[in-house]
Symmetry: C2
Subunit: 666 residues, 2 copies
């Protein structure tokens, strides 16, 4: 037992947020707040004081903010995060004898009890505090000591009233508390602070090789640059490119994943590496590294960042296979174990053997790959299949990178089991792919987004919604036609602060699967060059532009907080709202989930959640159709025709003019 | 980075049960099981193996039991606790390359793929395992290696079928796993194992001084001994005595808490200490220490244990005040700060100052008090107001005592705020008083007992239910007459595995409050000697005996597990069941919560929870009235008259004879 252990009477527990008891960080973006709660109590009835302590991780000095009791021994405090990188926080609390004494004095005086000795007890407390104070504070406190001692000597208990009425004394005493026996929570809780794009981003995925103006030609980075105005028009701020590295020749796949390729087949960009180079090289047909850097710079002019794919795997002719055979798993017949998920085989891809005794060199090499592309100006990485590489590796890599580059964002393409997907986020991934593509019904969407935004997940898992990817063409999109694409667009763009589409397949409503019951595209761009007619009259490009414009205009849609579902008496109609914390921006979305039929029903708005006055009308401005409605009270009829407009995206305006606004009404 | 860190691919998290991430122990009684779950997963698709590791805390050697997957990466295992004291447990898991290989081989064979190289891969895995094995196991494994190598050389892939069909190989390989890169959860979780009485006990509280056969006389320990047959008849197994120490003379309270006592007033037993001695002395009018030991021994003959009151506070004339003034808080006027909760004053009681710099000596002294009474044969302590002494003190004291005496039970009289009450249980209290006395409605009881038995609380908080105490005469008992006492008796005895009554006030339905709106007894025994007519015809002693008999007969009532509430369409009727884990004992209780009116309604039994077949009748044996009913299906009519029998306590018998049981039916 340490000498003062037994005198520390305050208990602190249940500190929240805390991911696995503080083992993993929560996530915030710049200038957001961290609200912290804790159970704080002691034996007996003494009053307590508590502070929330926080600091940027690289600073030694703690900043303190007072915590306030919420009732039932729960306390709360909050602090803003004002710089990128890591913060940490903890809680300290102590018994406050002066506040206790002050409260008891008030009760005694109210009960008409004799209090002269009490004044002397108070004088002692103030005197000790005055020794912790300096300057005029110390002098003021000393003066109180003198007054109270005089009151005791003269038996003049009216002083008590004076003490009770004086706010300065309470404030001064709170400034110089006795914290010798304060309890500090034994753990510091980490926070990772990212830039805004970690919270709010709009991604467009595109195969550069399909960007050539002439059908059949191999597109280049220069062709990508020419595509930028089109992408910017639609309102995207990230252009994500599948791997841009040399593609292996050995075991290259043909069109539609054919096991044997013809001489013309370009192969899958994810089969990385050939004699032309590996993960730090550029596929020669796309251009040069300089061309790539030029693309990054050009995109910047359009407010677009380039995101690269990190696919840590090798084609059989990747230079690593010769240079570092110890990074691969060799079979007894002298071949390398290719990727497979029996009975499926991916002969064009060799996975790294992360169980190699040489794992440290491998880890450093892969870190080097990331650093290389950071040097080329890339700050966004979409990580391919992170769940097939060790989870501890990612924690190490992401920490290493973010220590010097806290602005880097890692998006996990973690289409795997939920515990693994969420764990990748704990280990450090900034954003993550989700199961959104497979959530279609009202029940599924409500349950899933409630889980993502109302549980502990909201603290560390940032969902990124993709209605389609080069690998995922859902049956809903295959069969629902243009309305299905519209519905999924609106859902992705308004349920998630970050979403993306794989285009031009998306805006051109490409819906042919490779086979009945398959979720793969027919003639998938993964295995061949496609040419797209971007200016087709049925393209969704203008609707997408409109939706993304709405996202930029409405801060409520730029965060995953503040999502609330509202009942509708038709299972095909989904209604939800998103609000900023201060209530200054409120968006209500109503979607007809059926791409086939017109549906109508009665929405029952939860006015409390919207901050709406049930007695005041609200203006519902459908920013999709630019029509304005006046809604009074909670129940409203809605009707949505899939082929006209399958959704409303209402911006809610609380205040409407009434006769009371006329000057003469006053 | 340690040399193998990067090769440990398995992640273990979400281990349950875990109180505050393992900071505090869960509780069990002897021979109970600890079921442990954890999220266990790794990158990729490899199969994993996991073991639950446990040991008595004083042993270094871990015992392992396999864990099995429950789906969604959740795993489960369990172990029994076979000795008193502390256990700990943790979880270890690893990637299992052989099981992975075996599963893949099956898929390859099913898909008709070429597998000869696979056989060689398997042979390598088996060979390495054979080096970990010895004796015939090693030889058997070596034989497999030989067979598979032969199969490879001869291109004879039919061996694969043999491998797939052989259970011995799988079992042998599971016996010698490669655990070099196993992940062990970084924390060991503690368990406290108590004796059965910690889980199941039936307490009777009684003032010894009120036990004299002649009215007005001061009762003695010998009088208490004469009362034992009466207490045993009612079926109690614990007799709890308020403090038995000398009572202070200074500031002694008079009848009904009068601030000044007359010469005849015996004072409150909680005002401990006088010239006659302190916490290790016996109040002279009760007898001698030898008399007390004789009572302990006599009680044992009746199957009754004596529980003492630990009230760590002093009367002003307690010897400690002279001998250890440093343990008290002195006021500037030279007086000691008496207990108070402004404006209430308890001048007959001085609290210890646990913030004293001499806290270590004080802690040791108080431990000495407990040790003293353990030496006199006491193993049960009811701790008075533990929430007014530091929480860390209790953890230290209880650990110190239980290290040498794991059979000791501490019951916390923690009538305080919920977080503090629960925290005392975390810190080590074996059982705790609850808010039961103030939970009366169906809603209140259902919610409270769901919280106590279906949340994490069930792991460390053992509720002890008291319908009354010397300080608590609820309004329900004041106004509800005999039926109210019966209702509260049945609720306490069947909702809680541990309960107690303060008698004879309870069985004699003492219901006069000191004042309207007060919960204190008129002429409370705390301040005066009472004489009770135990043989009054309206005494509840026989009903209590019956109820306690039912508790002894039905294991389901001896645990707080297995409680389930069933809907009834009348808010005054409460229905719940308790079942043993194996379903061998099921009790259904229906209570009319109104002590005034007859109530009837339809019970909707949740047959699943009871393990009842909806197509088979069940015999419902009301063990309170000894009437048997046949119930078919879920819905049943019940009607309860408060003045006849306000409750059913049904023992459910699943199997009933039908014609199918006749021999000739076969």
């Amino acid at each position: 037992m340490q000498n003062d252990t037994g005198r520390k009477r305050v208990i602190i527990e249940g500190v929240q947020p805390a991911i696995d008891a503080g083992r993993f960080p929560i996530k915030r973006t710049l200038n957001e707040w961290v609200g912290v709660e804790a159970d704080i109590f002691a034996d007996g009835h003494d009053l307590l004081s508590a502070v929330l302590c926080y600091r940027p991780a690289q600073q030694a000095h703690w900043t303190e903010v007072p915590m306030r009791p919420l009732g039932n021994d729960r306390w709360q405090g909050c602090f803003p995060v004002l710089q990128l990188g890591r913060y940490c926080y903890t809680v300290q609390a102590w018994v406050d004898p002066f506040a206790t004494w002050h409260q008891a004095l008030r009760k005694r005086v109210t009960a008409g009890q004799e209090v002269t000795v009490e004044l002397l007890v108070g004088a002692e407390l103030i005197e000790v505090a005055s020794q912790r104070a300096t300057g005029t504070d110390a002098a003021q406190l000393q003066e109180w000591v003198r007054l109270l001692r005089m009151a005791w000597e003269s038996g003049c208990a009216e002083r008590a009233q004076l003490v009770l009425e004086d706010e300065t004394l309470l404030r001064l005493m709170a400034t110089y508390p006795d914290r010798r026996f304060a309890t500090t929570y034994p753990r510091e809780f980490p926070v990772v602070v990212d830039r805004d794009k970690a919270r709010f981003s709009t991604w467009y995925e595109m195969f550069p090789r399909s960007c050539a103006p002439v059908p059949g030609q191999h597109g280049t980075f220069k062709d990508c640059a020419a595509r930028l105005p089109y992408i910017a028009h639609m309102g995207f701020d990230v252009l994500y490119l599948p791997p841009i590295h040399p593609i292996g020749q050995m075991h290259r796949k043909g069109k539609n994943n054919a096991p044997v390729a013809t001489a013309d087949d370009p192969g899958s960009p994810w089969a990385i590496g050939s004699a032309a180079g590996g993960h730090t090289a550029v596929h020669p047909q796309l251009g040069t590294l300089a061309d790539f850097r030029a693309l990054v710079a050009k995109a910047q002019e359009y407010g677009i960042e380039i995101a690269l794919d990190l696919a840590f795997q090798c084609a059989p002719d990747h230079p690593y296979v010769q240079e570092h055979p110890e990074w691969f798993r060799w079979r007894p017949d002298g071949t390398v174990q290719y990727a497979e998920n029996p009975p499926k085989k991916y002969e064009d891809i060799y996975p790294f053997d992360f169980e190699t005794p040489h794992w440290q060199v491998l880890w450093e090499e892969l870190k080097g790959v990331v650093c290389f592309w950071i040097e080329q100006g890339v700050r966004l990485f979409r990580v391919d299949n992170p769940h097939t590489k060790p989870l501890r590796f990612w924690e190490w890599l992401i920490n290493e990178i973010k220590t010097s580059h806290p602005e880097v964002i890692f998006l996990a393409e973690a289409f795997t089991r939920p515990k693994v997907q969420y764990h990748l986020a704990k280990r450090g991934f900034t954003q993550s792919y989700t199961y959104f593509a497979w959530r279609h019904t009202k029940e599924e969407l409500t349950r899933y987004f409630t889980e993502l935004t109302r549980t502990e997940l909201q603290e560390y898992f940032r969902p990124h919604l993709w209605p389609n990817t080069p690998d995922i063409l859902t049956e809903y999109l295959q069969h629902g036609g243009r309305p299905a694409f519209l519905v999924r667009l609106v859902l992705a763009a308004t349920l998630g602060a970050s979403y993306g589409i794989y285009g031009p397949a998306f805006e051109l409503c490409e819906q042919r699967p490779r086979a009945e019951g398959s979720e793969e595209y027919l003639d998938a761009e993964k295995y061949e060059i496609r040419h797209w007619d971007l200016e087709r009259p049925d393209s969704l490009q203008d609707v997408i532009a409109r939706v993304n414009h709405i996202r930029r205009d409405n801060p409520a849609l730029q965060s995953n907080q503040g999502l609330h579902f509202h009942p509708v008496d038709n299972p095909e109609l989904l209604c939800y709202s998103k609000s900023t914390a201060d209530g200054s921006n409120v968006v209500v979305v109503v979607v007809n989930l059926s791409p086939y039929q017109t549906h109508s029903g009665w929405v029952e708005l939860q006015l409390d959640a919207l901050g709406l006055d049930p007695l005041q009308p609200a203006q519902m401005h459908d920013e999709l159709s630019n029509v304005r409605y006046l809604w009074h009270g909670a129940r409203h009829y809605v009707e949505l025709q899939p082929h006209v407009a399958p959704a409303h995206i209402f911006r809610v305006r609380h205040h409407l003019r009434t006769e009371r606004d006329f000057e003469y009404y006053l």
